[in-house]
């Protein structure tokens, strides 16, 4: 009896074949919480600082808990970012190219996965190359062309490359669709062919329904990447559409236009709390989207089978 109890306790603490045991579990949680804290530290810091009033910022006693919920920073940042307008242009320049890019990449991925033709290896190598080639090696001629055509600052400058499978990170999405269509059984296709369906009909009726998860993943990832992309957008859209990150990168200048430093009183000077409020407003839409769609983000790799190669 005593032996049994001792075994039970030993199992409880150190684990058995079927469970990890208390010590291991506690250590695991502590470690994950500690790493998780370090991981989220910049976000917590940003959020807390953005709520500090100018007095709290100067007060060395106030570290993590502001003395009051001060929303003034957000009011200012909202105005400086010209939020409603930049928000909608951000939505526009991230969603529209993403949807087009996903549609095009599905066609390309289908062709690569379902047909045998010479030169496929070369195409794969070139697709990989488009992923490796840095943007600055190709943007200047494109920018000058768009300028000649009067498309600079217009969303078309982002849509055109995306609609030919050359958008931002297109290579990844082509691979995702390639993997998806590769796993589709050939039998379905042959049956449809016997019924007299053309290749295009087979793609639309059999291919596309099987690729719904790939579409969701491609569109949400691509939306996030386009939203956060500033290198291409600054070059292609300057003088036209203003996205949130673009506006954030000119925050100081925009702030001083609204609140000229010589004119406003000392509490309305630009401080880090206002800047971080702007940063938080910038990522807020993505955070909301992330928490709504988190299943799709977190399980995306398993669903898309991107590691299949």
């Amino acid at each position: 009896m005593r032996q049994m109890i001792r075994d039970h306790w030993r199992g409880f603490l150190f684990g058995t074949r079927t469970s990890y045991g208390l010590i291991f579990t506690t250590a695991l949680y502590l470690l994950l919480i500690a790493i998780g804290f370090v991981y989220l530290y910049p976000l917590l810091f940003m959020f807390v600082t953005s709520l500090k009033s100018p007095a709290d910022l100067l007060n060395p006693m106030v570290q993590w808990v502001p003395t009051e919920l001060y929303m003034g920073n957000y009011v200012k940042a909202f105005r400086v970012l010209d939020y409603p307008k930049t928000f909608w242009s951000s939505v526009l320049i991230s969603v529209v190219p993403s949807v087009i890019q996903a549609a095009v990449c599905s066609v390309i991925g289908y062709g690569l996965a379902r047909y045998r033709f010479p030169g496929k290896g070369l195409i794969f190598a070139l697709i990989l190359a488009t992923f490796i080639i840095p943007a600055q090696n190709t943007v200047i001629p494109q920018m000058l062309t768009y300028r000649r055509l009067g498309l600079l600052g217009h969303i078309a400058a982002l849509i055109l490359p995306a609609s030919a499978g050359q958008g931002f990170n297109s290579a990844i999405f082509i691979l995702i669709f390639y993997q998806t269509f590769l796993s589709l059984p050939k039998v379905l296709e042959e049956a449809a062919r016997l019924d007299g369906a053309s290749d295009l009909e087979i793609f639309v009726r059999i291919g596309l329904p099987a690729a719904v998860p790939a579409f969701v993943i491609s569109i949400i990832f691509s939306t996030v990447w386009y939203w956060n992309e500033t290198y291409l957008t600054v070059i292609f859209l300057e003088g036209g559409l203003q996205s949130l990150p673009m506006q954030l990168s000119k925050f100081v200048q925009a702030y001083e236009n609204l609140y000229p430093p010589g004119v406003v009183n000392i509490f309305d000077r630009l401080n880090e709390a206002v800047k971080l409020s702007g940063t938080f407003l910038n990522i807020l839409p993505l955070l909301v989207m992330y928490f709504i769609l988190q299943k799709w983000f977190v399980e995306s790799v398993e669903r898309s089978g991107i590691t299949g190669e």
Binding site: Y115, T230, M246
Partner: protein, 296 residues
């Protein structure tokens, strides 16, 4: 492509017919590649051999052969310095990202409660890492390990180090969280390939008396070697394309600068591209060699 294949099409060999249809699907990409990647790439290379002036009336070229390249590599002190810094920072970050994402993936592959919550936390940065956001956070000191960089002892220690060691260490201290933030996609890829490892191998090993530690080194790690290679290459590319990358920023700044210009920045872009390819090749060879050693 549209509608049913024409009756005449039935006469041609099936393999040719299949190939033609395949090209039909891929054609858009080939056209796009020529227009949006190959042509601008060649054009940029032409720029890099010229002094390019953009005026309202048009663009004028003055052929200077390799002068832009020799200026980037031998005359411009900033560019080479930034390039070396980039190589060092990438080589410092890469193992940290690989090891960190592998450890987190191993943790998240265990069975415990609130796993979903932790997954959500570790994947969060993927959603929010844009250049300006990172820039703001770094400027406010939010990305360094809390409370370490401000301590006097650390500053004194740093001052003692020779500069070739100090820069990487300083980078590590000030951007530690940032480096970890680049691990999101990597964690997911590791996680999914961990889940593909056949469970029965572990059971067989346990019956043969292998400890968890031994099965990690003998089973888990070797089965992750291909994944590690993919992740390493992905990581290098993401770090090199990031818009806050100092070399990228410098090249961008020089494009519009009076003393720089399009020709000069194009030459720097190609030097940078070459260094990136060499880095990829180096990491590829090292990891491939190690992978073969393990399995062989």
């Amino acid at each position: 492509m549209k509608g049913r294949p024409a009756p005449a099409g039935r006469g041609i060999r099936p393999s040719l017919r299949e190939a033609l249809h395949g090209y039909g699907f891929v054609m858009l990409w080939i056209v796009g590649f020529v227009i949006f990647t190959a042509a601008p790439l060649i054009q940029t290379f032409v720029y890099s051999l010229n002094r390019v002036t953009v005026e309202a009336t048009g663009i004028t070229y003055e052929f200077v052969r390799w002068a832009n390249y020799s200026r980037a590599l031998f005359t411009d002190p900033t560019f080479v310095e930034l390039l070396i810094g980039y190589v060092i920072e990438t080589l410092v970050s890469l193992p940290i990202i690989l090891i960190f994402s592998m450890i987190i993936a191993l943790f998240l592959n265990l069975d415990f409660r609130f796993k979903g919550l932790f997954r959500t936390i570790f994947f969060l940065p993927v959603v929010i890492t844009s250049g300006p956001v990172i820039q703001e956070l770094t400027a406010q000191g939010a990305t360094s390990v809390p409370g370490i960089t401000n301590t006097g002892a650390v500053a004194a220690f740093l001052a003692e180090l020779p500069s070739y060691l100090r820069n990487p260490v300083e980078y590590l201290l000030t951007s530690f969280i940032l480096i970890l933030w680049f691990s999101g996609v990597q964690i997911l890829i590791y996680l999914s390939s961990l889940q593909k490892v056949d469970k029965s191998i572990y059971e067989a090993a346990a019956i043969d008396g292998a400890s968890a530690w031994e099965s990690f080194w003998k089973i888990t790690l070797p089965s992750l070697s291909t994944t590690t290679l993919i992740i390493a290459i992905y990581t290098i590319i993401v770090l090199s394309h990031f818009s806050e990358n100092k070399v990228v920023k410098y090249i961008y700044g020089q494009t519009y600068a009076v003393e720089g210009g399009i020709g000069y920045s194009s030459a720097m872009s190609f030097v940078y591209f070459l260094v990136l390819v060499m880095l990829l090749a180096l990491v590829f060879l090292v990891l491939r060699f190690r992978a073969r050693e393990r399995t062989g």
